[in-house]
């Protein structure tokens, strides 16, 4: 890997100037490297981070089933990484106009990395140096502990998709709701609503009573109010105690933090080095989390800007046709498939136009008349403001959910594709399944990254209880064993996992008839299963 030539660098500095003029905001410094295919071979398993720690699985062909992205939130083929300064990669012998185009795309990404709030936790440090120190730490440990370091990496990576990414973000946003509530908040938020289930009227009455006390004596109001609550409700204090206890054991912590704090095994003198390894894996995973949650936005944003900025760049006149060829490849809507670059870019352009005409407003939404809706234009001109607001505050799911509507689907003639087997012609047939915006939106949302949510608690006999919150999808059964094995090792005691599994029941068939090779009409029934991993053996029982 070597730095790009001074000639190209100079052009790129010019690109930055132009981008700043258009309102993009990002750090001044950036690093550009020339990479060969061989470099890429080494970089891609490390998610393009040159300083990422070594791990043997990176050297093996990893099975990549459909949906492998669920396993690896980092995109292995990103052309720019979110470091300080941001690092981007280029082919040797690119012509200038192509470098300019790519660099504008890169600038879009850098701007996104450094302004989108989902990346908030990556703003205050340089990941590549952090990764480098982790890499050295792991290398040093490996020289002392040998293969056990790799086991710990393996087991930590087995849970690295369960990191508390949103919990981490909420700490930045200053929300305290994940922390322990005060007695007063507990009384109004939980006790009255969940335990007492009081009517709205009496809830309001209680608020008024409290407000009355505050008016009388602001200093002592809370104390006196709680006192009266305690005398009226004998169980209040014990419930609050239980709640506070519950908060301590796990809630608000992700599985890494929980294990690192509570595992007796990990906190033994001899094993404390494992905590460092786990922390390195956790940090790495947290660093990658926002990227996969903003794929459509990030690529859409970068594509929007590389086009916008390229055409406004006077230095490269005459290369419009070359540009158009590459650009079309990047941003064409495929006949079948979902191109995040194309979708994101079009959606940005679409909402910009809406906002320019003032269509993102109540006045417009109240309009029923089709003709008037079409002609609506109050010359608001707030399009740029809106897209900058979206790039700052949205994730993919919010973006799609908020802005993808029927007009957009019609405008770009989008549809949901269905696929079926035609046995006579021996072909897979693709057909237009639906042009309904609701269904299209659902299809996009369904294809977005969504790791399972797992609650943690401890139980008797030093058991660790994991509760998979069921959201309509089962877990991949084959992977449960390996994952729990790792958690058991890190926890040092038996591990239990509650999850839901589908049991197919043959509907309405006469009993006793053995149906071979047959798919009778089946009913799905979700049953709660409890897996137990103890002494490296897995067992399962039905607990529903």
């Amino acid at each position: 890997m070597e730095l790009i030539s001074q000639h190209a660098k100079k052009i790129m500095e010019g690109c930055k100037e132009r981008a700043w003029q258009h309102g993009l905001r990002f750090q001044e410094e950036s690093l550009e490297y020339i990479v060969t295919n061989r470099d890429l071979l080494e970089l891609s398993p490390k998610n393009m981070i040159p300083t990422l720690y070594d791990y043997w699985v990176q050297d093996v062909e990893v099975l990549k089933e459909k949906g492998r992205y669920e396993l690896y939130p980092g995109n292995p083929y990103e052309t720019v990484i979110n470091t300080r300064p941001a690092i981007s990669f280029y082919n040797d012998n690119n012509p200038d106009w192509l470098n300019v185009m790519i660099f504008y795309h890169v600038i879009g990404h850098i701007d996104f990395f450094q302004n989108n709030l989902y990346f908030r936790h990556t703003w205050d440090y340089d990941f590549s140096s952090r990764a480098l120190s982790d890499k050295r730490m792991i290398a040093k440990l490996r020289s002392e502990k040998g293969r056990w370091v790799d086991y710990v990496i393996e087991f930590a990576r087995a849970i690295d998709n369960l990191v508390g990414y949103h919990q981490l973000l909420s700490r930045f946003s200053g929300l305290k709701n994940l922390q322990k509530k005060s007695r007063l908040d507990f009384y109004f938020d939980i006790f009255l609503q969940r335990n007492k289930k009081v009517s709205v009227a009496s809830y309001v009455k209680e608020i008024e009573r409290y407000n009355g006390l505050v008016k009388e004596n602001p200093a002592e109001a809370e104390y006196r109010f709680i006192e009266s609550v305690q005398t009226k409700n004998a169980e209040f204090e014990s419930l609050y105690g239980k709640y506070a206890q519950g908060k301590k054991s796990g809630a608000g912590q992700d599985i890494f933090e929980f294990l690192m704090e509570n595992s007796e095994f990990l906190n033994k003198e001899n094993n404390r080095w494992m905590l460092m390894v786990m922390e390195a894996v956790r940090t790495t995973s947290l660093y990658f989390q926002p990227q996969i949650r903003t794929k459509i936005l990030n690529e859409g944003w970068a594509s929007y800007w590389h086009e916008e900025l390229f055409f406004n760049d006077d230095r490269i006149n005459g290369h419009e046709i070359n540009f158009a060829i590459v650009n079309a490849k990047v941003t064409a809507m495929p006949r079948v498939g979902l191109n995040p670059y194309a979708l994101g870019m079009r959606l940005f352009a679409y909402i910009e136009e809406l906002a320019n005409k003032g269509k993102i407003s109540r006045a417009f939404q109240y309009l029923q008349d089709r003709e008037m809706r079409q002609r609506f234009d109050d010359k608001a001109g707030s399009g740029r403001d809106l897209i900058f607001h979206v790039r700052e505050n949205c994730s993919d799911s919010m973006f799609i959910n908020s802005f993808l509507d029927q007009d957009f689907v019609d405008l770009h003639r989008l549809f949901v594709t269905g696929k079926r087997l035609n046995k006579e012609r021996m072909t897979w047939q693709y057909y237009v399944k639906s042009r309904d915006a609701g269904e299209y939106k659902q299809m996009v949302l369904d294809s977005l990254y969504h790791p399972p949510s797992v609650e943690i608690a401890t139980g008797e006999d030093n058991g660790l209880y994991l509760n998979h919150v069921f959201e309509g999808k089962p877990l991949v059964k084959d992977y449960i064993k390996g994952t729990l094995l790792g958690i058991e090792y890190l926890w040092g005691g038996p591990v239990f996992l509650d999850t839901s599994e589908a049991v197919l029941r043959n509907a309405t068939l006469p009993a006793g008839s053995l149906q071979k090779a047959e798919k009778p009409p089946q009913e799905v029934e979700w049953r709660r299963m409890r897996y137990r991993m103890k002494d490296r053996t897995l067992s399962r029982k039905d607990i529903s």
Binding site: N37, W56, D59, V60, E61, V62, L63, K64, E65, E70, L71, N75, Y77, E78, V80, N91, E154, D160, N161, L162, V326, V330, P334, R335, V336, G337, L338, Y341, R413, L414, V416, T417, K419, R420, L421, K423, E424, M426, W428, Q429, Y430, Y431, V432, M443, P451, H468, E471, P474, V476, Y479, K481, G482, G486, A502, L514, K516, A517, E518, Q522, R536
Partner: protein, 454 residues
């Protein structure tokens, strides 16, 4: 029920033999399925790029060939050694070697097997339980709802099984081929070496061909090579300089510049072993049994390739009620039908091939048969004579029964009649049987191979 004539005849014949009501019901059920899905279906649905399949390097850096890491720092031996150590430390093995990354139709003989692993995590399973057809993807352009916008032949030129994932479609170059696999299997998993058998003989022959090059003298002047040589010499002498036109008449020609093709002796190797892979592809094999059988067959194939130092020929036979030979591993792997099962048909076909091509004379013959144990010929009345005939020439017949889980374990027809026939005892060194559950894992498969081949 519509039924083709052949099946009707077969059924009539079977009925004469007093089927139990249960057997009859099973057969009728399979026939019904057969009618429904006569088409041969691939086990994989085609790949459509989704949100996370697009990335910058592919789109922006045009033409960059992407390959995932294939070990430069760790050799296969290292990995296997590491895996062995894992087992000693009490963790399950993690390297899987039985997975085919890309058995392409073009490279039929080169079954590429690569060490693979998977990082296990708690993940949502994307397979919906109740759906009938594939869930939707995105799309754009013309077309009414319901209109078919395109179709794709079921068997693609480049079917990616197990998927190399990135959808680049390029060939997957790996150093680890089946030969290496075989070596690893033999050495690390302690699979037996083949014993020298009477029939194993070297069929090395020589032929003469104009392939060697010689400077100065020889039979035929290789003009192109000579010209190249002359230019080299003249560059060396400084008579040709870059950027200036060459004047041929001024070039010097040394006698040693003349390059000739000469006759040379070439070793011709003949295959020493021919392996028949026979697979039941009836409806009841769907899913795991197929996967198991095919994976095991790849491993066996690798092992034999190593044992015979690449001199192995393979033949692939599929059967349901009828048997047919298919030409490559890809087809062998991917085809499935929902039909009935007649083992005899396959054995008969193997016997015919051996007889017609007189394979017996020159080859060691191995037959490996994978099935779920179903057979409409419940008593083995037709199968057993064919099997006995096969035993006359084969070096080894290995039958794998991957139970489909519908019936009782150990109660499949094939298993029953084989045991009853006593052949397993009488011809112990020629005929082997391995029965496994449908959820067996790779170590179990390798264990099975040991059983079949030792």
């Amino acid at each position: 029920m519509r039924m083709n004539r052949k099946h009707k005849e077969l059924l009539a014949r079977l009925q004469e033999e007093k089927l139990t009501p249960q057997q009859k019901q099973e057969i009728m059920e399979q026939l019904r399925l057969l009618e429904e899905t006569r088409a041969e279906e691939p086990s994989e649905t085609p790949f459509v790029a989704g949100v996370y399949d697009y990335h910058d390097l592919q789109l922006l850096h045009d033409g960059v060939v992407m390959r995932m890491a294939q070990s430069s720092t760790h050799s296969l031996d290292d990995l296997i050694a590491r895996d062995g150590q894992r087992e000693k430390d009490g963790f399950p093995r993690k390297i899987r070697i039985g997975k085919m990354i890309k058995p392409s139709q073009s490279g039929a003989e080169k079954v590429v097997v690569v060490p693979t692993t998977v990082e296990e995590k708690l993940l949502h399973d994307s397979i919906s339980v109740e759906e009938e057809e594939e869930g939707g993807e995105g799309g754009s352009g013309e077309g009414e709802e319901g209109e078919v916008i395109g179709e794709q032949p079921i068997r693609q030129e480049q079917g990616g099984e197990g998927g190399s994932g990135q959808g680049e479609g390029g060939t997957h170059e790996t150093d680890t081929n089946a030969y290496d696999m075989g070596r690893i299997l033999t050495e690390q998993f302690h699979l037996p070496n083949l014993k020298e058998k009477g029939k194993k003989r070297s069929l090395t022959r020589y032929s003469y061909d104009l392939t060697d090059r010689n400077r100065g003298f020889g039979q035929i002047l290789d003009k192109k090579a000579t010209l190249r040589r002359i230019i080299e010499t003249n560059i060396g002498l400084g008579r040709i300089t870059a950027g200036q036109s060459v004047r041929p008449e001024e070039l010097l020609i040394s006698p040693a510049d003349r390059i000739y093709k000469i006759l040379s002796r070439e070793k011709d190797y003949e295959s020493q072993a021919v392996v028949f892979f026979v697979r039941d592809y009836s409806g009841s094999m769907h899913g795991n049994p197929t996967e198991l059988v095919v994976t095991q067959h790849v491993l066996i194939y690798s092992w034999l390739i190593y044992q015979y130092e690449n001199q192995v020929e393979t033949r692939f036979v599929l059967h349901d009620t009828e048997a047919k030979e298919v030409e490559d591993f890809h087809t062998y792997y991917n085809l499935k039908v929902a039909g009935g099962t007649q083992v005899a048909s396959a054995y008969r076909l193997v016997n015919d091939i051996v007889e017609q091509e007189s394979l017996e004379r020159d080859y060691n013959i191995y037959v490996f048969h994978g099935t779920d144990g179903d057979d409409w010929d419940t008593s083995g009345k037709e199968t057993l004579p064919q099997l006995e005939k096969m035993l006359e020439y084969a070096n080894r017949i290995g039958i794998t029964i991957a139970e489909n889980g519908y019936g009782i374990s150990g109660g499949s027809e094939v298993e029953k009649y084989l045991k009853k026939s006593g052949l397993l005892e009488d011809k112990k060194d020629l005929l082997r049987l391995d029965v496994m559950q449908k959820d067996s894992d790779e170590p179990r498969l390798i264990e099975g191979i040991r059983k079949l081949t030792s």
